[in-house]
């Protein structure tokens, strides 16, 4: 496989440009997931534990938003951040911050929807116990989040996978500027358009490898946590 060889050469060659691109990809996607988690987890928990008129519709919409097309999110954030848009004065368009915002918007529904499902399922199991033991609302949320932590971690990984793999938003709001907003995915798109398909595929293999490493790290975290609990 010529492409695998290219991927290896890229890694072994230790090209600083490549590492800068990899670093930016990780920074942008991990930051986006962190922000989306800070907002999405409480949102999911809130939705799981409350009942109100139209709740079913909200759940359906939230689940539906998991399929937000990146290019639409990119366009929306672009129009917001453009100098002619409402937030134009911030001067954020074509910066890594803009890319983080766009990816956070993209990932937020995934994390919120999966968190809601996880917590709601646990809530059904625990409801009687909570009532019998007289656990208050804060204690309930803490217990549910804690016991559902591994499923919630999977929700974070789903969000990260979505963010790290997408090219639509970062291309539009980042502009694929060399050395500034170029990520792995926009670099792959660029090399494809230059007709350098082996290099594009090499970069692609590298990106998949990095996503695997992040997932392996999460798995290790989980294993360590479980070992700790039984010990």
């Amino acid at each position: 496989m010529a492409e695998t060889a290219t991927a290896w050469q890229l890694i072994i060659g230790g090209d600083p440009t490549l590492f800068a691109i990899l670093r930016l990809s990780l920074i942008v996607s991990l930051s986006a997931v962190a922000i989306a988690a800070l907002v999405g987890m409480p949102l999911g928990a809130l939705l799981a534990l409350t009942s109100f008129r139209g709740r079913g519709a909200v759940v359906v919409v939230l689940n539906g938003l998991m399929g937000l097309p990146p290019v639409v999110v990119g366009l929306g954030v672009y129009l917001l951040l453009s100098r002619s848009g409402p937030l134009g004065d911030l001067g954020l368009l074509y910066t890594p911050s803009a890319m983080i915002i766009a990816q956070a918007v993209l990932v937020l529904p995934i994390i919120a929807a999966l968190a809601r499902q996880t917590i709601e399922d646990l809530w059904r199991d625990y409801r009687d116990e909570f009532v019998a033991m007289g656990v208050g609302p804060a204690g309930r949320v803490a217990a549910l989040v804690w016991d559902g932590r591994y499923s919630l971690l999977t929700a974070l990984l789903a969000g990260f996978g979505r963010a790290a793999a997408e090219v639509g938003t970062v291309m539009i709001v980042g502009g694929n500027i060399d050395g500034f907003t170029r990520t792995m995915t926009t670099a792959i798109a660029l090399e494809t358009s230059k007709g350098d398909l082996p290099l594009a595929l090499g970069l692609g293999i590298l990106l998949v490898a990095v996503i695997l490493v992040v997932n392996a790290a999460a798995w290790t975290l989980r294993s360590v946590g479980e070992t700790g609990r039984t010990a």
């Binding site: 930016l24 920074i27 100098r83 074509y94 694929n176 060399d178 358009s193 609990r229």
Partner: protein, 281 residues
């Protein structure tokens, strides 16, 4: 609780360097400009050649957003770029006339080429007449890929069809494939389906996935491809970095900038030919 802290610590460890990393580019932003340009200048490696030289001399970092000419001008109209560096003279002059640009300067030129499969089903090889070649492609109903994205190359293609007295873009016909994408994507498409395509020479020379494609028609003076540079009007968009942008334009059209452009070659072939007017006194 220890585990929760561990999870939190891991999360923080992932996020903190992220924000530390963001602070650095923000600081460097002070002396930088954003240039909306075309895919041909970026993909051909021209910017990779000239920008480090410019930055070394002036300390001004140039951030290039490579788009089609139409999109680049739209980006500038919205105020999201300080300078536009594109190749569709009529659109550029309209941009200045609308008040979005200060003044347009010629920078350099090269030419378009009609690329097609070596088997050449329409028999256009060796013709030096671009419109005659298009007529033959139309008659043969041979597959033709159009950019279809309002780029400089697309604009040139539509002009050539018009000069040939044809209008396949609105007449349709499944041999005429409008893909709405950049030059590289158009070449990839043409390469995959053995179609004809109009390409700028710079992108063609730096394109690596040629397959059976080769240059079939070149040298017609109607295939001339002029690049121009314009400062976005600070009267329209007050945040435009007019001084830094003007420094970039002045350098591009200075004898030194012009020589630097001429020096850029791929496999010994010069890609862009400087033709800025003599500096006004």
């Amino acid at each position: 609780m220890i585990h929760r802290r561990r999870v939190l610590a891991a999360l923080l460890a992932a996020v903190l360097p992220a924000f530390a990393g963001l602070a650095a580019p923000a600081a460097a932003q002070d002396k930088s400009i954003t240039v909306a340009s075309t895919t041909s200048t970026e993909d051909s490696g021209l910017f990779g050649h000239i920008l480090p030289i410019f930055e070394k001399e002036t300390g001004i970092a140039v951030k290039v957003v490579a788009q089609g000419t139409g999109q680049a001008l739209e980006t500038a109209r919205r105020g999201d770029a300080d300078v536009v560096f594109v190749h569709a003279k009529a659109q550029e002059e309209a941009f200045v006339a609308e008040g979005f640009g200060v003044e347009r300067f010629d920078v350099m030129y090269n030419d378009f080429v009609i690329v097609g499969p070596a088997s050449d089903p329409a028999g256009i090889a060796g013709t030096a007449n671009a419109t005659a070649a298009l007529k033959r492609i139309d008659e043969a109903k041979a597959p033709f890929v159009s950019r279809g994205d309002k780029s400089g190359t697309h604009t040139a293609e539509l002009r050539l069809w018009k000069e040939a007295g044809l209008d396949p873009a609105s007449e349709g016909g499944d041999w005429y494939r409008s893909i709405g994408q950049g030059m590289g994507a158009a070449l990839n498409t043409a390469s995959a389906m053995n179609a004809y395509v109009l390409a700028d020479r710079a992108t063609w020379l730096s394109f690596k996935n040629r397959g059976d494609l080769k240059v079939l028609v070149e040298g017609d003076k109607r295939l001339f491809n002029q690049y121009g540079v314009i400062l976005v009007n600070p009267a329209k968009h007050p945040h435009v970095k007019a001084d830094l942008g003007q420094s970039f334009i002045d350098w591009l059209i200075s004898p030194e900038g012009q020589t630097t452009i001429a020096d850029y070659r791929i496999d010994g072939q010069q890609l862009f030919f400087p033709n800025a007017p003599e500096k006004r006194t």
